[in-house]
């Protein structure tokens, strides 16, 4: 029997474990993609996915049925990812995002040898994402990769319309600037 999200949430909120399992299995990959973009590693993303669904389970009673479950879940996912990043930064000696951001201009752009390694692209993308503020990153990812409307982003992040739009503008500009050398090389077939 196919359960849509609203029906599954209603059943899960009444303690139906199978209904919650449907939600977990249906949305775990998209939450993983979101978590990976936020954290940059598969291991961290897996932890964020788990924490996201655990928090969602605890908060099911607060979910409003007229809302979009996926958007509501993404908001929880973003918060979990941010908490995870803060906790990781506290524990590790890795440079904080703002440090990476300061280092970025010193990078003169990848050479053609760099592109031999596909991982370089992933690393550069992650460095670019790390250079965004939490708010910029959340708004940007929700808009571009999870199809959320400006209104949904405002609701999820507690922003006014203009603030949400400007967060996205700034994020896209930064991503474009940061990734332009790779984009050029890809376009020119180097």
């Amino acid at each position: 029997m196919h359960l849509d999200d609203a029906a599954a949430v209603a059943l899960a909120a009444r303690g139906d474990e199978d209904a919650f399992r449907v939600l977990v299995e249906r949305h775990s990959r998209s939450v993983f993609r979101l978590a990976f973009r936020m954290t940059g590693t598969a291991e961290d993303a897996e932890d964020v996915v788990q924490e996201t669904f655990v928090r969602a389970y605890r908060q099911l009673a607060r979910f409003e049925s007229r809302s979009n479950f996926a958007t509501w879940l993404y908001r929880i996912g973003f918060n979990c990812a941010i908490d995870h990043l803060r906790s990781r930064n506290d524990k590790e000696t890795n440079p904080a995002p703002e440090v990476l951001d300061r280092l970025a201009p010193a990078v003169t752009g990848p050479t053609s040898e760099d592109l031999v390694f596909a991982g370089q692209i992933g690393a550069r993308v992650q460095q670019a994402l790390n250079g965004l503020s939490e708010q910029e990153r959340a708004a940007f990812l929700m808009r571009h990769y999870h199809g959320c409307s400006i209104e949904e982003i405002c609701g999820a992040l507690g922003l006014k319309t203009n603030a949400a739009k400007h967060s996205i503008f700034r994020a896209v500009k930064k991503m474009r600037t940061e990734l332009q050398p790779l984009v050029r090389m890809r376009m020119e077939g180097l």
Binding site: S28, R29, A42, T93, I121, G122, L129, H144, R176, Q180
Partner: protein, 247 residues
């Protein structure tokens, strides 16, 4: 071309699909005549595509593993939240008891000639029950192993590994007994899983409590490259399912 170039914000707003119809038409008309703006548009599109391409696809079975972890976290949250290494029951002692139980059951009831249906049914029921004990014990074993791997992956180099070393030693001993039993009972997947884990556990158990940075890096690389955490979680999910189906 008389009209001014659209600003970056206008271009991005249009790219996001949030521009008003009149702004959209104005920008599109402009771009048809302006190579510079068309190029800016292409750059934005290419950069955003690149972000999308950089995300790996989770492995097959990912959804099942997530569900297993979530269900466990929901069910066991209070216990997990006060998890400490010192609270772990010595794994070797538990393993020995489980192995003795399973081996005895198998030896007495399954491989012995069966002449009576009632006895055979009782033997099967007994084996099933004892296999469930094995799976439950492996569930605990894999949980402890997962916790240890996470600790090893995240522990700062300056921290000692006294506790991890003791735990790993215990897990090596228990793992060998479980491996023997899994092989004996024909659970080849579990045998392979335990084989994969052993080198890392041995390295910790036999290593110095102040393991050098290079050795720690080897451990982390092994954990990451072999995807050990994911495999342990998947194996844990499987044994839990098997235990449930044995009910």
């Amino acid at each position: 071309m008389d009209r001014p170039h659209p600003t970056d914000d206008e271009l991005i707003e249009h790219f996001c699909g949030d521009a008003t119809p009149s702004a959209r038409e104005r920008i599109e008309t402009h771009m048809r005549e302006c190579a510079q703006c068309q190029r800016a548009w292409d750059d934005v599109a290419a950069a955003l595509t690149m972000v999308n391409d950089a995300v790996p696809e989770p492995p097959d079975g990912f959804e099942r593993v997530v569900w297993a972890r979530v269900r466990q976290a929901i069910e066991l949250e209070p216990r997990r939240s006060i998890w400490t290494w010192r609270a772990i029951v010595p794994a070797g002692a538990l393993a020995a008891a489980v192995i003795a139980l399973v081996m005895t059951s198998r030896g007495n009831h399954v491989w012995a000639p069966v002449v009576d249906t009632t006895v055979a049914d009782a033997a099967r029921a007994n084996l099933k029950q004892n296999e469930r004990v094995l799976f439950t014990a492996l569930d605990e074993h894999f949980q402890q192993t997962e916790a240890l791997l996470v600790e090893l992956r995240n522990a700062p180099d300056k921290d000692g590994l006294e506790l991890e070393r003791v735990t790993a030693d215990d897990l090596v001993a228990a793992g060998r007994l479980y491996r023997q039993t899994a092989e004996y009972t024909g659970h080849e997947g579990l045998v392979r899983m335990l084989d994969d884990l052993e080198p890392v556990l041995v390295e910790v158990a036999r290593g110095s409590t102040q393991m050098a940075g290079r050795d720690r890096q080897w451990l982390r690389t092994r954990i990451e490259d072999d995807n050990l955490l994911f495999k342990v979680r998947a194996a844990n999910y499987d044994v839990r399912e098997r235990a449930a189906h044995n009910d």
